[in-house]
Amino acid sequence: MTDRQKLVEVTDLRVRFASESGPVTAVDGLSFGLGAGESLGLVGESGSGKSTVAFTLLGLHRGSGAEVTGTVRVDGTDVLAAAENELRALRGARAAMVFQDPLSALDPYWAIGEQIAEVHRVHTGSSRAASRRRAVEVLDRVGIPDAARRAGAHPHEFSGGMRQRALIAMALACSPKLLIADEPTTALDVTVQAQILDLLHDLRTEHGMALLLVTHDLGVVAGNTDRVLVMRDGRAVERGPVAEILGTPRELYTRELLAAVPRLDGPRERPAGATGDILLSVTDLRRHYPAPARRSAAPGRRALLGGREELRAVDGVSLDIRRGETLGVVGESGSGKTTLGRLLVRLTQPTSGRIRFEGTDLAQASERRLQPFRRDLQMVFQDPVASLNPRRTIGDSIADPLRARGGPSGPQVRREVGELLERVGLRPDWYHRYPHELSGGQRQRVGIARALAPRPKLIVCDEPVSALDVSTQAQVVRLLSDLQGEFGLTLVFIAHDLAVVRQVSDRVAVMRHGKIVELGTADDVYAAPEHPYTRRLLAAVPVLDPAEADRRRAARAELRLPEKESALAS
């Protein structure tokens, strides 16, 4: 192939795991190379084997019982054959990994600076003091303010974005030649995601590091890698320069994947404007919580009595929801969007304010008075694993609201559940299956069937698709909009993904710090955002066009300069 030795060379890699239902082939004859300073995006849906490849590069499969064949060379080390100490000399020193979930990836008992210093000391044999200085240096480089002091903080004292920066700092500690990033921004808000990706980009140009970016998000790949490898079922489907793969994909699978990505610029499925009467109306709705000790994420305020900080999760929200419409609610984590959703269906009692549903104020109603309204107000939860009882069959879970209604006999309930299962695209004879036998998308369909069972008027969907792959996401979104037409449902669609919300909503509310900062028709909000926060959110959304992604990054860098200057001045 090339004259010079590649930094990473993977040839005919096969990884097999033993599972209860026989051996599973996670990676099936994959070959690729990565030269020094190059960047490659490894893209695929969950189960495609992309993370397994990333782990194998550092020999992290060892001890897991996986059966690995082929060859993997990283910076001259034969990873599959190398001795344990040879491998340790590679890990963290010449090839470093950035993990997906920065909270669980850091040791909760150790100060962040100490964890980074330990890695540096192990590989360089430096003194404790020198390694600590290096830790502060890299923390400062990744943009942790007041790094010398913050190095003594523990992971739980950092926000999600700062934890991810800290993890990147750890990767930088020994100036590696290769950075492997496994879904580095999946757990983060869109604005923080943009910051982290920009940071990775800057570091790469600065240090000439090679980057292997593993992600399910084609938008993340667009602006951050030179080449892309699309994986499916452990095999390479298509590979090439990023502009080519995203612009003119040859393979059907890549085209399908691209088509499923919700876009900010694509056509909208929904004709704007449902003009029904007002179904639910909330006025000056508030929900306050006593703030957690010490650190409070949102601005709190000292309560008059007790002197305890207060967290205002929802802080004076007023809005009307019209019959038959879909209201999208977007916001970053901690903006109060989930609390608002729970208030709308009265799963949470508001601290103050009014909730009028078809003429009745439910805000402070007792559980007994709420009873007749429960069936009208339903909710679909984000995590279908956690919101289904793992010890009950999915049929029983869906039947609960039917039985709660009282009346129908056993066989009738059984029949209705069968119909519901069929309606959400599952088989009626799956009544006796358990949640763990289902995929993520199927479980979310069960969640939807359960919400649908009592024939509600309003369903609040709280991040219903954020745990799903893009193609599954598209199917579930389509299902929801079909059901809406069929049953005359009113939907509140809560999500942090601006593109998904745009796709499904008639009107959109943008939330920040417990308040609605902008509310309008989806077309208005996305085409002509009025609030600067909305504009910032929209600017941070990854785009699929690499050239456009570069332009946007430059624009963000411009925006950051005055910020830095003003920070220096103050």
Binding site: G92, A96, M97, D107, V119, L167
Partner: protein, 329 residues
């Protein structure tokens, strides 16, 4: 920290108050008249009335309880007219059967349980955590199977059996050491330790089995966590990972278990005390229950409860020290 101590003191007092009330009610409602027992044989009606009056058992239960509480602060005087018994504050009651203040009977015996428990604790922690560590690191190998079998056997063996066996072996058959008798630490530290070695090991051997299992499962769980994977991905040695990163998190649940055990055993290790003939709180409680010496029962029970509450407060304190995410509030 000060808030924590203050809150804990108040809640401890509240727990003990409720406990004392319940114990009082249960035992004083029992169909035994303490006066009859104190009065002895050949007791006639007039004499019994005098004794009752002295003991205060002629009063309604709530008044008796009130006197008990008042005695804690002000001391008590049991007076039948011609025969006066004083019990200085803090008076936890007076045992007329042994003619001693209850508090004195208990404080005399506390050093026995303190020595027994804390010494055994050191051994069972070393033994249990060590075994657990070893079997977690040698998972699936012969060493682990052997250790698992041993710990299961340990859990299934009652302490009196182990105690009797070591006594028969070391003291009777081999005659390596004399039968233990408790010697106070302040009298002769060497003798204190020599006499406690067998009880320590008997108690620790049995208890350590549970710690071995707990440490093993907790360590395996911690080793499967994401931050351990990070350690591996950054080239740390297995030894550094286990001792530096995994063990600390793994020992947190062990701490909870330790607090419960120490609190309980401090309040009386009846079987161990009995086998080795030590006069501790456990035996005191058993004897007083058998002889229906109610003031002693109440006092000993309260002390047992006190130790449990204190041990748990200590565990919370250690929690906060061990885990930066836990704050004392």
């Amino acid at each position: 920290m000060i808030r924590f101590l203050l809150r804990r003191t108040v809640s401890t007092a509240a727990v003990l108050l409720v406990m004392s009330a319940v114990v009082y009610l249960v035992f004083y409602a029992a169909p035994h008249d303490p006066a009859v027992l104190v009065c002895g044989k050949g007791c006639d009606g007039t004499r019994l009335a005098v004794v009752r009056h002295k003991l205060g058992t002629d009063l309604p239960v709530w008044e008796q309880y009130g006197n008990f509480l008042r005695g804690l602060v002000a001391g008590r005087t049991f007076d039948s007219g011609n025969d006066v018994t004083r019990c200085a504050a803090p008076c936890l009651g007076y045992s007329f059967q042994t003619d001693q203040p209850v508090l004195q009977m208990i404080t005399q015996r506390i050093p026995v349980d303190l020595s027994l428990t804390l010494g055994a604790m050191v051994i069972w922690l070393l033994l249990g955590v060590g075994t657990g560590l070893l079997s977690a690191l040698r998972r699936g190998r012969l060493v682990e199977r052997a250790l698992t079998t041993l710990t299961l056997a340990g859990m299934a063996t009652p302490v009196f059996l182990v105690g009797l066996l070591v006594l028969m072996l070391f003291c009777a058959s081999l005659q390596w050491m004399p039968f233990p008798t408790y010697t106070a630490f302040t009298d002769d530290p060497a003798q204190w330790a020599a006499n406690l070695v067998l009880p320590w090991f008997s108690l620790a051997l049995v208890i350590s089995a549970a710690y071995a299992r707990m440490t093993r499962s907790s360590l395996l769980e911690t080793l499967a966590e994401d931050h351990i994977r990070t350690n591996r991905a950054y080239g740390l040695s297995e030894r550094r990972i286990v001792l530096g990163h995994a063990l600390r998190g793994a020992l947190v649940p062990v701490l909870t278990m330790l607090a419960i055990d120490v609190g309980q055993i401090l309040g009386g290790a009846m079987l161990t005390e009995s086998v080795f003939g030590f006069d501790g709180l456990g035996r005191l409680l058993v004897t007083s229950v058998n002889q229906i010496d109610l003031p002693v029962v109440v006092g000993a029970t309260l002390f047992a409860g006190f130790f449990v509450v204190i041990a748990n407060a200590a565990a919370d304190l250690l929690y906060a020290l061990a885990d930066p995410r836990v704050s004392l509030a």
